[in-house]
Subunit: 142 residues, 2 copies
Amino acid sequence: MNLKERAEILLKEKGLRCTEVRLLILEEFLKRNKPLSIQDFKKKKAFKNWDESSTYRNFTKLESSGLIRAIPSNSEFQHYESTLETHHHHHHHITCRKCKAIQCLNDCSVEEQLAKMANKVGFSVEGHTLELYGLCADCRKK
Amino acid sequence: MNLKERAEILLKEKGLRCTEVRLLILEEFLKRNKPLSIQDFKKKKAFKNWDESSTYRNFTKLESSGLIRAIPSNSEFQHYESTLETHHHHHHHITCRKCKAIQCLNDCSVEEQLAKMANKVGFSVEGHTLELYGLCADCRKK
DNA sequence: GTTTATGCAAACTGTTTGCACGATC
DNA sequence: GATCGTGCAAACAGTTTGCATAAAC
């Protein structure tokens, strides 16, 4: 089953109509498997064919139907991610300061610590954004 | 020494002119001792007397002179905090998902964990950005 | 008197909305 | 054929900029 077919099924399950823009957006989320902003889509040439307002309305629609969710982000722009099973795995990235390589960290083992830190000031934690930077093995050798 | 006097000294140290808006902004940061956005200032009636462009330009100026710093934030709006002694140690912030209040966390106790996570994939860590979100005590009650 | 900040108006970006037309079911 | 999505234009909010005037030093 290809991406387009998967996207069609997802839309139908939610009782949403299968329009071309909507399919493209959903396919992109399935394919990229990472948080994306509306800006990321606007940059893509495929999206030059549609009016921006359509894209905005579709993001709203996909979010309210539960296919994507808005996630807090340090970015200037609102980011969204797919809500599918395979996308649930929580992880972070580390970027090499020198060569700019990005590596996925397999696990996130700081949640307990964060909960403690937040509880001290009366907050409960629902989530976090975390990005690391440093040096990769290769660049450290040089 | 009151807030206004402290603010005047800070500005002079940086070679900045002491104008009324600038003093008010800096005093507010000294007084509140937490991240503030330009929106927070616009709301205040004292700031209704000045043109918004002045406020924006002053934030830029105060930042480039190092008296305040822009901090990553999950909020829609850019937040800044004072760079004074009390703010120098490494710390993070948590944003309330409902009321958007931002609170400083006193310490950062995840560095060891992060180093371990990164070492597993061959990286050494030089730094990180971390922002939390959740619910503040007040919003949790409701 | 020189330098820098301000007010005002205009421009600019990202986003939202109203409405007529077109596509989907 | 009824419903819903789209393009287009206009409106909107937050921010930035140009320029003449005013304030700080």
